[in-house]
């Protein structure tokens, strides 16, 4: 018995063990949902699908035909969609003055237009009273210099949430985004492996610890269930939105944010 028994969920961007999308998929499945997991690489997906008894569908979040095919695959396998979570992201970094505009466009393709396609394709198939959750970033509202191509595209996605809530609201579909702050994912391990880095983040976080993927799985599972929240961008940073995001020059390591791996 779970709160999401009988529901069908799609989680796009469930690409890596120890990542946010992965944790989201695990929590939705634990709450009883049938989960379709999607990302570009098939191998880790198959592992996740096997673990949670779901379906793996390779999908590039930046390609609209593939997102449409993902929605169709979920429909064919489980008869509909009730919950759609887009955790796919492309971490494009740079300064405004020097970042190649082609790179900015690449960020927009996945971090904004990818969400437009996602809402459109999932919304077309989604049953009434469903829930769409888009994963944004704290850097969309709290600038971290050098994050601008990524952060600004996600800020557009936060705006998309408000428009989508209005457009899909008459069908009872709730549309929200969450804005994670720093997260200790496997992909960010190289950042947190530098001694002292975690402490710099912790100083700015009310709850005095860095987030872990499990924190976000819980929040998305709540947003997937019955509630009356729609059109909202929810900071999920342990309270970092109340203070500030640390600057790179405060970090003990060199070029902490100048890595496109996180």
């Amino acid at each position: 018995m779970g709160t999401l028994d009988g529901k069908v969920a799609v989680v796009l961007g469930a690409s890596a063990a120890g990542g946010t999308g992965w944790a989201v998929a695990e929590h939705l499945a634990a709450a009883g949902a049938k989960v379709v997991v999607a990302a570009r690489r098939r191998e880790p997906l198959e592992e996740l699908a096997a673990k949670i008894g779901g379906l793996a569908v390779p999908c590039d979040a930046g390609k609209k035909e593939q997102v449409a095919a993902l929605a169709q695959a979920a429909h064919q396998a489980f008869g509909g969609i009730d919950i759609a979570v887009n955790s796919a992201a492309r971490p494009v970094m740079g300064d405004i003055a020097t970042c190649a505009i082609e790179l900015v466009q690449k960020s927009l393709d996945v971090n904004f237009l990818g969400h437009v396609n996602f809402v459109r394709e999932m919304g077309a198939i989604m049953r009434d009273d469903g829930s769409i959750v888009l994963i944004s970033t704290s850097s969309a509202s709290q600038p971290v210099p050098y994050f601008f191509p990524y952060a600004c595209a996600k800020a557009a996605t936060d705006c998309l949430v408000r428009y989508a809530a209005l457009e899909y609201g008459p069908r009872g579909i709730r549309v929200n985004s969450i804005l994670p702050g720093p997260i200790k994912t496997d992909l960010a391990a190289h950042i947190f492996s530098v001694p002292g880095t975690e402490e710099v983040f912790e100083r700015e976080i009310a709850l005095r610890r860095v987030g872990v993927p499990d924190d976000f799985g819980r929040i998305v599972a709540m947003l997937a269930g019955p509630h009356y929240i729609s059109g909202v961008n929810i900071p999920t940073s342990g309270g970092m939105h109340l203070t500030r995001s640390p600057r790179e020059d405060e970090m003990p390591g060199e070029g902490t944010f100048h890595s496109d791996r996180s």
């Binding site: 009310a206 709850l207 987030g211 929040i219 009356y228 900071p235 999920t236 342990g238 309270g239």
Partner: protein, 256 residues
């Protein structure tokens, strides 16, 4: 004791004699918490809430107290300590500041008495109760303030009430930073128009019901059980990574 995500937790819900407060008390109890059901004036309503909780297999105790006076707050805290002890608790895990009063009026309509009453209950009362309850809240505890969408936008027709709710939002943010190092989360939940006695006059007019329903993206007026699960989520371990926020549970008001 009931099993659930709040099993073994104690909670106080102020203003739980009816409406949203009653539904929050029921929801927390359904999730396994032992709930202190507070009332300001309606003892019978609070007893009814407690009876509903017990009939569903939960645990509850009733306590009164006027939030507008220090004496009332102290009496309430004493009754809380007694109620907790009688149920085998020392600490208060979850404080839900739900009690409040409403009131319309443009700036010219708000008398000194009305203003003092609104601020005295919704701001001063919530502040002082929380201040004095903090020592009973353990590390990892929860404080949840039931604010309102009126505190997030312009409501000239309820100007005094709106400012008390904006004050609660500010209180929520500052307190979250102060208590964060203890792992205590502090959040607000902001309902929009919700079908309770609080807006009985509005609900009696079909044109207004449609007007306010249409203001929400989900195209209807909220119900208490649209709000209570959000409070239960924030109160549980599920909501552990959210603090210092006012979560809008309004069906998407103010999006356009």
């Amino acid at each position: 004791m009931m099993m659930g995500k709040l099993a073994g937790k104690s909670a106080l819900v102020t203003g739980a004699s009816r409406g949203i407060g009653r539904e929050i008390a029921l929801e927390l109890a359904r999730a396994g918490a032992t709930v202190g059901v507070h009332y300001g004036e309606r003892l019978e309503g609070a007893e009814e809430t407690a009876r509903m909780i017990r009939e569903a297999g939960g645990a509850a105790f009733v306590l009164g107290g006027d939030l507008r006076s220090i004496d009332g707050i102290e009496r309430m805290l004493a009754a809380l300590a007694e109620g907790l002890a009688a149920n085998g608790f020392k600490a208060l895990d979850i404080l839900v500041n739900n009690a409040g009063i409403g009131g319309g009026g443009s700036i010219g309509d708000v008398t000194v008495e009305k203003l003092d009453n609104l601020i005295g209950t919704n701001v001063r009362g919530v502040f002082l109760l929380t201040q004095r309850a903090i020592s009973r809240i353990p590390d990892g505890g929860r404080i949840i303030n039931i604010t309102s969408m009126v505190g997030l936008a312009a409501y000239p027709g309820s100007i005094a009430y709106a400012l008390t709710k904006a004050a609660q939002n500010s209180f929520t943010a500052s307190l979250a930073v102060e208590l964060g190092p203890r792992g205590i989360t502090v959040n607000g939940v902001a309902p929009g128009a919700t079908d309770t006695d609080f807006i009985a006059a509005l609900m009696a007019q079909p044109a207004l019901v449609k007007f306010y329903g249409d203001k929400a993206a989900l195209k209807r007026i909220g119900k208490p059980d649209d709000i209570a699960p959000v409070v239960a989520f924030l109160a549980s371990d599920e909501g552990r990574w959210i603090t210092g926020q006012v979560i809008e549970a309004s069906g998407g008001m103010h999006l356009e």
